[in-house]
Symmetry: C2
């Protein structure tokens, strides 16, 4: 099934709705769960009833159905008590390290996992404010999963069964702060402000055979100001989501609503499929020409991320956001 | 006023109570706010009514008052959408760098801020499970503040006004994973599992003159298995909490319930006042004797953290936790 959270005046967690497979229609989930958080905290008991509602919605028999407007959507889970962003496509890191002669002290078999903030997830169409172009505003197109409660000490196979939803995000990145924060080595703060999510999260079964080994085997289409930027595929992730969740859960439990991002989607065939972030394209240009040719984002630019399923329809809806100057007190 | 959250069978956010100044009695906050989260999201409107209840409780005139049992307490805010732990006592880092000949690439004026998980805050008396003594289990006694909504772009002075509560935490640390994760440079995961909080959080006015420049000018008493370990003072923090919140809010807003830890309390007079973590004492031993003499935590050990106010009474109540082996499925 497909789920989204609509803006409301009164709650920070939005109003949970079930969205039809073609993203055209929706129906209120409130009789079963008022918010996505409420659903995730009691998934096994409540999801089957929403699944039935989803069936009726697709069949055109759901009472109270209305047109789905992604402009009214918050992030599917509007805030989370734990958001961790991986860097699970080693190809991306390899390009960056070669271009800039960096060495990340990786340990074989251990994924890069970056703890992040969960209090300010953004909807798919809201203007994104940032303070200064000198901060080198970049994007990272990523897949992400959302879990229910994950016990401490789970195996990768057990962890995979706690993945309840899959979605799409733009991990907005301020490269002007990244090197300083990476060198300090304690984590990313000013380099990684609020994250933007697709309007819809889907259960893994919606992906059909494109959900394999805890990876999304679909292209991530990235468009900058209406022009193609890249369409790398999620299948080349070096760790499955289940493996990374198990690493996280080694000595902690993960609360329902845990969000894990894949890291910027990146493929070995990057010359053909392009990239899902500016930093990677700039690194490729640096390797090829000795210097980057592509600029970081300027105010007024727009970015679109979308993923089509096997039948060509949009799986998660699109992220389509304009980047604008921050005005204090606005 | 002083606030706590009691365990309940049904909610993950607990049940908010007002606790008397001497920590002996409590009264339900539910007529004003059912949970700490609800209060923080609407602080200005609701806090004055709880302040009045607190006055009545201290005067012995509050209806429905009952004995306060810290063993029934969750963390004052049982979970948060954003927890960041600073390392704001540079003295601690200096000792570590000298002992182990490390170099952290700090930028003058910029605090070390470590994004962390907010989904698994622990109460002050619950046994703490961890998988293996080989993980080198350590503790860090810290002060922490909790904010209401902080807008993007605030100044340090404005940020300080968003500090609504102060508390105490034990930032449990697994040193066996720390070097690997620090070298990788993307943040701390297995090195920093769940965090333990004192039973009570207090409004800054409760600290009287001990709350100055966004710092807590009180000793943090640390006891290991009933024996004195250290009592460093919070006044030597190199950044005030307001300054660090402003750094965080440079390009993001911070949601109500943002928790910011101070980092392990550490003083230049460490030979007299001791330390608030094993790693620092071990580093001092390494500097003095060429090798550490103090062991990391073994299963069965207990740790107590407490802070006395000017009149000698406990400000936040005590963290008093036993460390035990993790048993899967227990």
């Amino acid at each position: 099934m497909k789920l989204a959270s609509l803006k409301t005046g009164s709650t920070r967690d939005g109003r949970l709705i079930v969205v039809s497979r073609d993203l055209a229609r929706a129906v209120d989930a409130a009789p079963v769960a008022a918010t996505m958080r409420e659903l995730l905290e009691d998934w096994d008991a409540r999801a089957p009833r929403l699944q039935a509602l989803y069936g009726a919605l697709n069949a055109g028999t759901a009472a109270g159905a209305f047109a789905f407007d992604p402009r009214q959507a918050l992030a599917p889970l509007p805030r989370s008590h734990q958001f961790v962003d991986a860097s699970a496509f080693l190809n991306h890191g390899d390009i960056m390290e070669r271009a800039y002669k960096l060495t990340v002290k990786k340990t074989p078999g251990i994924p890069i996992l970056v703890p992040r903030q969960g209090d300010d997830f953004r909807g798919p169409h809201d203007d994104y404010e940032f303070p200064a172009e000198a901060d080198q505003c970049d994007f990272e197109g990523e897949f992400a999963v959302i879990t229910d409660d994950v016990p401490m000490g789970v195996s990768a196979a057990e962890a995979a069964r706690h993945i309840k939803l899959v979605t799409l995000l733009n991990d907005v990145s301020m490269r002007g702060h990244l090197t300083r924060e990476l060198q300090m080595g304690f984590g990313l703060v000013q380099a990684k402000p609020a994250t933007i999510f697709a309007p819809v999260a889907v259960t893994p079964d919606e992906l059909g055979p494109a959900w394999q080994d805890g990876r999304v085997h679909l292209d991530m289409k990235v468009t900058r100001n209406g022009e193609w930027f890249g369409h790398p595929n999620g299948r080349e992730m070096d760790w499955g989501f289940g493996e990374m969740i198990a690493h996280m859960a080694y000595n902690r439990k993960l609360g329902a609503g845990f969000v894990l991002g894949s890291g910027t989607v990146s493929n070995k065939g990057y010359r053909e499929v392009g990239s899902a972030c500016l930093a990677e394209r700039r690194a490729v240009e640096t390797l090829d020409h000795g210097a980057a040719q592509t600029d970081f984002l300027k105010f007024g630019e727009t970015l679109r991320f979308e993923v089509a399923g096997a039948d060509g329809t949009s799986v998660f809806g699109a992220i389509d956001v304009r980047f604008v100057p921050f005005k204090a007190g606005a």
